[in-house]
Amino acid sequence: MSGAGDREPVFPTRQSLGAMKSKLKGAETGHSLLKRKSEALTKRFREITRRIDEAKRKMGRVMQIAAFSLAEVTYAVGGDIGYQIQESAKQARFRVRTKQENVSGVFLPQFESYTKDENNDFGLTGLGKGGQQVQRCRETYARAVETLVELASLQTAFVILDEVIKVVNRRVNAIEHVIIPRTENTISYINSELDELDREEFYRLKKVKNNKQRDNNAAEEERKNSKRRGSDKENDQEPVDVLGEQEDQDVIF
């Protein structure tokens, strides 16, 4: 399989093999971590989806009641009081603050509503008639807005989580299907290259050894030959009369 498929442009050395191996290990750890993160997020996501469903249904009911209480006000006051209310409201009574919630490293903004009870700007509206309905209507709408705020934080979390889950899943898939196979490929490539080198080396060594042996053998042969020749020579020449000063050439057996 060496060389087949995608691999990283590295030189097939033992050092890069080590690097690749540690990279593979890192990728696998990262993969399992990301997988777990994605699972945690998905779990959260499902929960939020469920809660959004609930909140939306609740909103439908609450808004209906609120709209009806407005109808009650219209009936009791017998006219349009919208303008008066708009003009007499100076400060927000219903306020929203945000805080962050950390879900497996993702920061989800959460809206929290609270009312400032001291603000009662249109407390006197409908003093002559319908005042009670106006107050009641305000309470109903405050509840409706509360539901809306709840829904808003859920929806925001929904969008953000969706985005994050996509990113994480992309990463998980990238690691699983690209990085890990590629690293594995690279490793097997390096391995095969190294093996190839090994074999070459081995073959070379064998060749060298053969050559050497052959040379040796040849040398041996040579040596033997020369030795034999030498011994012949020795036989021929050996009883050199050291003293004779090789003058006795004429002695023949």
């Binding site: 209906q64 709209a67 009806f68 209480s69 109808a71 009650e72 219209t74 009936y75 009791a76 017998g78 006219g79 349009d80 303008y83 008066q84 003009e87 007499s88 009662n120 407390g123 006197l124 509206t125 409908g126 003093l127 002559g128 008639k129 319908g130 005042g131 009670q132 309905q133 009641r136």
Partner: protein, 367 residues
């Protein structure tokens, strides 16, 4: 004696009003209306009574446009009557419009206070409360100018004079201004109907005295109930009670001291009718846990709320006014009945539009 010459000036108008009264929706009509499934059905059911005025509405109109059109009819008829009337009747009808004028002026004052373009507000004003110099109110840009040069020119000037200064306009809550004006208006109207030489001792004086006394008491009670839990002090509250009525003076004095529902109930116990209302509401209120003066269904109970009962009583008084002859009071009664009818139609169509049929029967019908 008073019947002898009444018809010289008022006979035609009275006849017309009695005719108008006969076109008011009856219990049968309301029964049909509550059976409707869509606003279009409501429109169809209303066509005998309101035909021309509803004709221009698009299919499935909004409830507010329905209410506007029905109000248009009331206004058109009222204007016609106004055009036919002379003498004390004309004055009487002017008095009728003052109540709406107070609302309009309060609206414009609110606009001026917040430095809005008051011209936009003109179309929000109630058409019955329209007076010639009303657009002039928009000229004023600050409250002092409004008070010194513009309000003085309006028919409401006497009600401002003596009880409100231009500083008050700036500082007081617009609701207090409105209710002060309304108190002055009611007192003036009462004085007019009972003490005017041409009306004194006539059936007009009798009927109107009863009606206005009831109206005064209702306002006093409502103001008291609605002021609980607000920054309105007892002294200020006392100033808003009209100086007549069946509760005046002992009842209003007690009302001004009342701190809670029981206090109010005690204050009105001197008048049998009101005591009865409070007893009924007290029982319902105790069970449902909802406060006084709420709409009956608000707390989920079927009983009628105080406000409902007051409306009911007002309608009955208005109905009784038609048993008298030679009186201007029938016009007042007719306007009130008509207003209630518009409210009923709005309520029924609102219930239908919002699919809340369970409380559709909350309207008030006296015929």
């Amino acid at each position: 004696m008073e019947g002898l010459f009444f018809n010289v000036n008022g006979g035609y108008v009275e006849g017309i009003v009695r005719g108008y009264r006969n076109t008011l929706l009856t219990g049968q009509n309301y029964g049909n209306l509550t059976q409707c499934e869509t606003i279009d059905d409501v429109k169809l059911q209303l066509s005998p009574a309101y035909g021309d005025f509803l004709a221009s509405l698009p299919p499935n109109p909004s409830t507010s446009s329905l209410a506007n059109k029905t109000t248009d009819k009331l206004v058109a008829e009222f204007r016609y009557l106004q055009g036919q009337s002379t003498g004390t009747l004309l004055k009487f009808m002017e008095y009728l419009t003052y109540g709406y004028m107070i609302d309009n002026v309060a609206l414009l004052i609110t606009g001026t206070l917040h430095e809005r373009d008051t011209r936009e507000l003109l179309e929000r004003c109630h058409p019955l409360g329209w007076f010639e110099t009303m657009p002039v109110l928009c000229v004023a840009t600050n409250i002092e100018e409004l008070y010194n040069s513009v309000l003085i020119e309006t028919p409401l000037a006497p009600y401002f004079k003596g009880s409100l200064s231009h500083q008050d306009l700036d500082e007081l809550n617009i609701e207090i201004i409105r209710n002060t004006l309304y108190k002055n208006y009611l007192e003036d109207f009462y004085k007019f109907t009972t003490e005017h030489p041409e009306l004194k001792g006539t059936p007009t004086a009798e009927v109107m005295a009863e009606t206005l006394e009831f109206e005064a008491d209702r306002r006093a009670i409502n103001i008291t109930l609605n002021s609980f839990g607000t920054e309105l002090s007892k002294q200020d509250r006392k100033k808003l009670y009209p100086d007549f009525g069946r509760l005046y003076p002992e009842g209003t004095l007690m009302l001004s001291r009342a701190d809670d529902m029981e206090g109010v109930a005690l204050a009105v116990s001197g008048v049998h009718d009101y005591k009865q209302y409070f007893d009924t509401v007290g029982m319902n209120g105790g069970m449902s846990g909802s406060g006084p003066g709420n709409m009956s269904g608000g707390g989920g109970s079927d009983g009628k709320s105080l406000e409902d009962m007051f409306y009911q009583k007002e309608m009955e008084i208005s109905k009784m006014a038609f048993t008298r002859q030679f009186t201007h009071a029938v016009i007042y009664a007719w306007v009130k009945l008509r207003e209630q009818e518009i409210r009923n139609i709005t309520w029924i169509s609102e219930c239908i539009a919002q699919n809340q049929k369970d409380r559709i029967g909350n309207y008030i019908s006296v015929f």
